[in-house]
């Protein structure tokens, strides 16, 4: 298969064109995933652009995004495929007298009676796709096993039907908030990317890119204040989404330069816990 990207710099600039600001680490791993044909497991704090990366790569490569949202209790029938049992029952009933059971059996376990779920859909797709398995840490450890075959072989085995192999190797992204340790087996199959809070420059770029009409000066100030707040020992430091929410709010309020009072009055957009807000408010008004 032809590589999707020429080099790491192309990935980085391409992502920038679709408004995703990557650093060399992120771009390097995306590039590598394409070259080695391996899935990427993305971990990191909430709201740092893990999900968005998969979406943006899809946009960049002109691929369709197929998303499997994980949750506790997700099973095979929601992730991979399910037999359309209502239709099957009807078929059995309709042919009660004519066909032999073995004929009926072969018939009702054919593709016509198969309901495709995201994972199967991703590998059977004719057009290019990006597969996003979002928040994989939410499924039980046992359920992870469902993913292993598709992640290493890009195929799905259906007992009644045989093995279905991918027509093309899609780019696959898994995200995790690290609420539990993923299995070694899963990790071994993936490239690992830890996405952390962006540095000052990148965060400023993100704000400039995502918030229409914001001035360079305000974006810079926002990024600086957020950096200072993240250095405090907080229960939940502000994420990139919260930085963006804050920037939009300041724009709505028509603020051009932030002073300490305005910062304090709008802190609740940046921080979710009362104790964190109090800590940050105190910190911002005192020079040490």
């Amino acid at each position: 298969m032809k590589p999707r990207f020429n080099d790491v710099a192309t990935v980085r600039s391409g992502l920038k064109n679709v408004n995703y600001l990557a650093d060399d680490g992120i771009a390097g791993v995306v590039y590598l995933a394409d070259r080695l044909g391996k899935p990427v497991l993305i971990e990191g704090p909430a709201g740092t652009g893990k999900t968005q990366l998969a979406k943006s790569v899809a946009e960049l490569t002109g691929a369709r995004l197929i998303r499997l949202q994980c949750y506790e209790g997700l099973d095979e029938s929601k992730a991979l495929y399910e037999w359309n049992y209502k239709k099957q029952l009807l078929r059995i009933q309709a042919d009660k007298n004519s066909d032999s059971w073995s004929e009926v059996h072969d018939d009702i376990f054919s593709k016509e009676f198969l309901l495709t779920r995201p994972l199967l859909e991703a590998i059977t797709s004719e057009d290019p796709v990006v597969l996003l398995i979002d928040e994989v840490d939410r499924v039980e450890l046992e359920t992870e096993a469902l993913l292993l075959e598709i992640l290493s072989e890009y195929q799905v085995s259906i007992p009644e039907l045989g093995t279905i192999t991918a027509k093309q190797i899609p780019l696959v992204f898994l995200t995790s908030n690290n609420t539990r340790e993923l299995s070694e087996a899963l990790k071994r199959r993936c490239l690992y990317l830890h996405v952390d809070y962006p540095d000052l420059e990148r965060e400023k770029e993100i704000v400039l890119n995502k918030v229409p009409d914001i001035s360079e000066n305000l974006a810079d100030q926002i990024a600086r204040i957020v950096r200072s707040i993240r250095q405090l020992d907080l229960k939940k430091p502000p994420s990139v989404s919260e930085t963006l929410d804050w920037a939009r709010t300041l724009m709505l309020l028509g603020i051009e330069t932030i002073d300490a009072d305005e910062a304090k009055e709008t802190l609740h957009i940046l921080l979710k816990y009362q104790t964190d807000i109090a800590k940050a408010a105190k910190e911002l008004s005192v020079t040490k």
Partner: protein, 482 residues
Amino acid sequence: MPVLDLMSGFIAELRNAGLPVSLTENLDAMEAVKVIPIEDREAFKYALGATLVKNNAHWRVFETIFEVYFSLRGPEYAITKDGQPDDFWREMQEQMDQVKGQGEGKGSGGGMDSLTPEEITAMLMRALMSGDQAMMRALAKQSVQRFAGMEPGRPVGGTYYLYRTLRNLDLDNMLQKLIDANREMSKQELTSLEERLEKDEFESRIEQFKQEIESEIRRRLVADRGAEAMAKTLRKPLPEDVEFMHASRDEMQSLKKALYPLTRKLAARLARKRRHGRKGPLDFRNTVRHSLSYGGVPADPKFRYPRPAKPELMVVADISGSVAAFARFTLMFVYAIQNQFSKVRSFVFIDGIDEVTKYFKSTEDIGEAINRVNTEADVVWVDGHSDYGHAFEVFWERYGKDITSKTTVLLLGDARNNYHAAQSWVVKEMAKRARHVYWLNPEPKSYWNTGDSIVGEYGAHTDGVFECRNLRQLEGFVENLT
């Protein structure tokens, strides 16, 4: 040396440091270096990391080893004697003279010796003030050359050279000098917020400069001693191998991060034990799905798993001096556990015992909780030296009746009882009532039951005593609960 040759030593060192690099991952890394050029340093580093490091807690150890094996190499990094500039230094010198000439209006000239330490410090201050990256890098090199006093083959570690370099630059006072200069230079009075942000910016630049210096020293040491020897000198334990009893502040910080996922796992394990053998309500969809293999007859009914009930936990922890560092960790552990269990009660003791559940419940700030435990909990009975026997007796008297068949009891401590009466009957009674009693001991196994340790006497009544010196062992304990 070609990249592929460096790789085997590099991966061997990762394994030496304790990183679990599997064969597949090794092969993936070999593929990775074929497609990403080493000149693309950041991308190259992350590509290697993506194939070899699957746990973010291992990243720092990885980075250090990466730097040693793939640091820039070449004759310019050889340790030369003062006053014998090679080409590289001549070039640097010219650069410096230029900058100096612009800044001060003085004529250039003289050798490198003409720059006094004061002048270098002044140049550094200007570079930090304006955030001039190239200049900061150049000055880092220059400072190491001038001040570190490095000599080939000398068997001292990098920290010594770092200390010497930083002291000569008076870096401790640099922050204040920058702040003062900034105040003077600004046209209007700075608001407190502005000052605060400037200060953070300066701090980050100084930190960056320090790291430049460290890298420079490291590069030179690698050039002098070779990567392998250097990696060995720098080897640090992974967070999960750090001994609780001897953890530094920094290390405690990284342990804290690892705790949350671990307590989740603990909760899951304790919950799972309970659901064994029980069946939940009929799973209709699943039954029908399977019935199709039998021509639509629901021959094989499927059941849902019952929702696991939330387990109850009592943590009883020694916080005496002999386990001080461990106690700090224990309290963080208790705090993290609080989120995972519907019912956790925590108790701390020295020679007296007190319940501290409320301190953890009433605040979201772990620092505050630990502080309150340390200052308010009533744990001293006579002299503040461990007396397990008395603490256990009081525990039994006050809280024993609260232990039920749903309770798991975790006892944490070294069981060093100062030769007091053991009162091990309490543990025996606990075990009778509780679902499980486990003992976690932060001491190496070889010390158990030596001197005044009587862990064996207590342990005989429990479901097991586990060596718990580091996170890896704590994880092992949690893992084996199934």
